[in-house]
Amino acid sequence: MPDTVRINKLLIANRGEIAVRVLRACRDLGIPTVAVYSDADRKALHVRYADEAVYIGGSRPAESYLRKDVIIQAAKQTGADAIHPGYGFLAENADFAQQVIDEGLVWVGPSPRAIAVMGDKQQARTAVTANGVPLIPGTPAGLLDDDLIAAAYEIGFPVLIKAVAGGGGKGMRAVHDPKDFAESLATARREAESAFGNGDVYVEKLLVGARHIEFQILADMHGNTIHLGERECSIQRRHQKLVEEAPSPFVDDELRRKMGEMAIAAARSVDYVNAGTIECMVDKDKNYYFLEMNTRLQVEHPVTELVTGVDIVKEQIRIARGRPMTPQENVMKPRGWAIECRINAEDPYANFMPSTGKINTMITPSGPGVRVDSGVYAGSEITPYYDSMIAKLITWGETRSEAMLRMRRALAEYTIMGLKHNIPFHINLMNSFSFIAGQVDTNFVETRFSMDTYEDPPTSQDLETAVIAATLYAHRKRQLASQVVGPRQRDASNWKWISRWERMRK
């Protein structure tokens, strides 16, 4: 039986919305917080909301958020006795977890061994197979290019090239035609090398028309391991999730029971403790395969929170303290429906190109059934140093259709100006018949969705309103330009200009 420890102060080794999310949980628990920040983040919301904030270096992650020693030093210096890693950065770094524990601090996460095993795709496959978990056919890691191409032929195209160290779609490429294999392999290795410092990849069978469905696991030090039901994450682009929901419109009680048992078996294969996620692919015939385990808090955890009533971050802290977790049973009957849209600084009209800049106007949606997890505000700067997700918009409803209607409403309310973002993408997605019907797979966005065509075309009134607005805009701009006085006129009345300038300063 583990000892219960106190957490007197907690350091969050992260930034952005997830740092704010963890801060909020600590506030709700009455635990004082320490934020860490880079040069680019002095004005960031997590720094503003934390009780203490420690500067840890330059804007690039390698200069700050990835510096293990500096972060541990920040905890020591402020008297923090626990570290929550969020997701990304050092969250799945077993060495860091070990270092935290060796320094006598509480690590809010699973054991370094569980992180290491699940972080290595091959070790993970070996571990879960021992517990009877089904896998997608694939190769081991460490093969040379020639062996990989041979294996790909053996598995049969289409195949997926995946980075051994990967996550979040980086270093991942689908190959449908054998002739594209060499080029895709090179790109995947390059991306993996650049993102993780490790260019090793492996190949596995690509399931066509399959869904990405994952199970939320919670496990405490008292031997309890449960699942909180599934999340549907098939709305992806280039293997990056864009929309998640809970429950999945595809999962019935029987499939939930079977997959849930499998997910628990997978977690138990590494004696998992704390919150984690079992990612699976599910084909049209409801065959399911273990993809990987994410040994951390997941971006999309809020949809599970809204349909289970469990505050997953609070439970993480509770579990890390050695206490029994609050929920004790698998969630077989989620309450209502929740949908999350990831709000990214990416231009859906320009191939989802990331956008940087300063947010000059922001109206955040609220009201019944709406939650926003965000790390930005009007006045904050989106820099090129970190990933492009700036907020998560989550809605809840009694039914899937109520959750969708609320999401449409919330998206219409959400106003973010100053940079390009993907809210228009989400608005169009929520109007797409396939999405409304829940008929999606992981290729839906890339192959069956477009920002240029609408199932419900604009009315002539819409077109006319756009024309009028564009014309008035151009007209005003032209008038404004004609009012700009030329240099000769300016000299006449210096004083007027000065007073005008002074008025501007106020």
Binding site: K170, T187, R190, E191, S194, A195, D347, Y349, A350, N351, M353, P354, S355, T356, N360, T361, P384, Y385, Y386, D387, S388, L411, A412, T415, M417, G418, I423, P424, H426, I427, N428, N431, M451, Y454, P458, Q461, D462, L463, E464, T465, A466, V467, I468, A469, A470, T471, L472, Y473, A474, H475, K477, R478
Partner: protein, 166 residues
């Protein structure tokens, strides 16, 4: 003031008089057009209330309304005349600029190459993603100022494409 505004290949004659009254193709419209913040506007027209994001670039006025993008060209009389003299409306530029600071990973084209609209001409790494920058037009690569491994700033010109001779 008379304008011809083009949307989806269709032309609308819009007239705005000194009092701000508007006619569209000769019919009067009751329009209340208000700036809420830079680029953000509210229109109430015949009681319909709509919020719009409006921006312009290279002669195109982009209107984003209810999650949909409307690309328009607004021409006053002089611009219309000039466009007609040029023989066409809205030929777009073949410049490929860096949309954000980043690292050039690859430049898969060379000067003199024929490229199609939408073809990748530069791969730029930024925000931990590899972004493929595409040619905005069909044409021939005129200049290549970017090279692999180079760090670039926002708006740096990377490649220019000129339309093919006709």
């Amino acid at each position: 003031m008379k304008y011809v505004t083009i949307l989806d290949g269709e032309s609308y004659e819009v007239e705005i008089d000194k009092d701000g009254k508007i006619t569209v193709n000769g019919e009067g419209r009751d329009v209340d057009f208000l700036a809420l913040s830079p680029s953000l506007y509210s229109i109430i027209s015949d009681n319909r209330s709509v919020q719009l994001v409006i921006d312009d670039a290279d002669g195109t006025v982009e209107v984003l309304m209810k999650g949909r993008m409307y690309e328009t060209q607004v021409l006053d009389e002089r611009a219309l005349m000039m466009a007609q003299r040029r023989g066409g409306l809205g030929s777009s530029s073949g410049d490929v600029q860096a949309p954000m600071p980043g690292l050039v990973v690859a430049v898969p084209v060379n000067v003199g190459d024929a490229v199609e609209k939408g073809q990748t001409v530069v791969v730029l790494e930024s925000m931990k993603m590899q972004n493929e920058l595409k040619s905005p037009i069909d044409g021939v690569v005129q200049t290549v100022t970017a090279s692999a491994g180079q760090s670039v700033n926002k708006n740096d010109l990377l490649v220019t494409v000129t339309p093919p001779e006709e």
